[in-house]
Assembly symmetry: C2
Homo-oligomer: 207 residues x 2
DNA sequence: ATAGAAAACGGACCGTAGTCCGTTTAGTAT
DNA sequence: ATACTAAACGGACTACGGTCCGTTTTCTAT
């Protein structure tokens, strides 16, 4: 699919993605130290409690280095998410139907939403932290890709303005919304997926 | 409607709503000074540029006083919005159809979304500032009321889980989404309202 | 091996939201 | 009028994200 390759998985990778061009050895070492420390802190205290100072300290690295590496707190969270996010993306782009290609747009959208809801429930803290503080969350590349995916399916299904409709659906699946529905407002995940199915089914049935 | 009176317009009014029980005269005076200064700062520099320090300074008041009065930056923004918000609420609760009672749920929902979109475009900065930093935006009372309103209409229209569906629609109308669509991504307001109409129409047509 | 340049480093520094607590002041009871 | 109390005040203080810039380290070319 021609859409895929134009959307990078990282925010803009402030410098030296994993091992691309020449990355200085000290930089590589520090990146490893930082990611390692970050994962430990997240595991132990949760993503919300992670401060950039604490991270720098734990990784035995200057604060400037943290920001050079990840650009911002949101960037760090995105990096922490990127493996899981890539896997989810592979699922809806290349995986088996109904999530992947081969099923009807309707079935694929239902499956996409369900997958997304469970994905968010597993990575909610990180996702919220990645989205917050980012001036327009839509800049998060993974969000852009999801949006494009839904846009294509909605167009196939005959929606008049698929770009805008995809945006509505993107916000309906907002991490903050999903996490708070389940954890704060006590809605069960299955109610969310059922309602999503109802939404997509009705939306694509008409005409 | 019995729903109305249980939902206060203010967050929790840290102390002394406009003129309720005994409000000390100095408190009243300072509240007036603060609101006045805040409106001037917002008019001149925009809501985004308003800092609590600058506000305290301009109102000739200590910083502690600002926070005692409004609780937080978000609380201040909500207070600034409350007149406009009340008017919008009157529109969909008591005003003429199709926004107010008397039209079909479908027409009322379409009108509600359109009204909301234009409302957000007029008060976007304030709304974004009121929503941000508020741990779950759903706590904003006006949001709660809108949600209830949509929930009732969706139930009338035969939606299986109107509470959850209303939440999806609430997020589809998120101020950040609407403002960024129009001002950052260059989508015209009429595209947004057209798409909203398509969403509601299809959603409520089936079965 | 050496020197020079580019990249990375570190931590002091800044702006801002929000808290704390000792001081002041408005109402009230005598 | 006076004294008392609870509310309100103010501004120093903290926490945190993010920036800046002088210093150090790595790589490369000779």
């Amino acid at each position: 699919m021609f859409l895929v390759s134009f959307i990078p998985l990282q925010p803009d990778a402030p410098m030296g993605t994993p091992g691309l061009p020449h990355e200085r050895s000290d930089a590589a070492r520090n990146r490893e130290r930082l990611l390692c420390a970050a994962r430990e802190l997240v595991d132990e205290f949760g993503a919300d409690a992670l401060t950039m100072d604490a991270l720098a300290c734990k990784a035995k690295v200057g604060k400037g280095t943290v920001f050079r590496r990840f650009g911002s707190r949101a960037g760090l969270m995105m990096t922490l998410l990127s493996d899981a996010e890539s896997e989810f993306q592979r699922g809806f782009m290349f995986g088996p139907p109904p999530l992947g290609p081969g099923a009807s747009p309707e079935d694929r959208l239902v499956a996409f939403g369900e997958g997304r809801i469970y994905f968010v429930l597993e990575n909610g803290e990180l996702l919220k932290a990645a989205g917050a503080a980012t001036r327009n969350r839509f800049d998060v590349p993974a969000t852009k890709l999801s949006h494009r995916h839904m846009e294509v399916l909605l167009r196939e299904a005959g929606i008049a303005d698929p770009w805008v409709m995809a945006m509505s659906l993107t916000y309906a699946l907002d991490p903050e919304r999903i996490v708070d529905d389940v954890r704060v407002r006590g809605i069960s995940p299955s109610r969310l997926t059922d309602s999503w199915r109802e939404l997509i089914t009705r939306l694509l049935k008409a005409t």
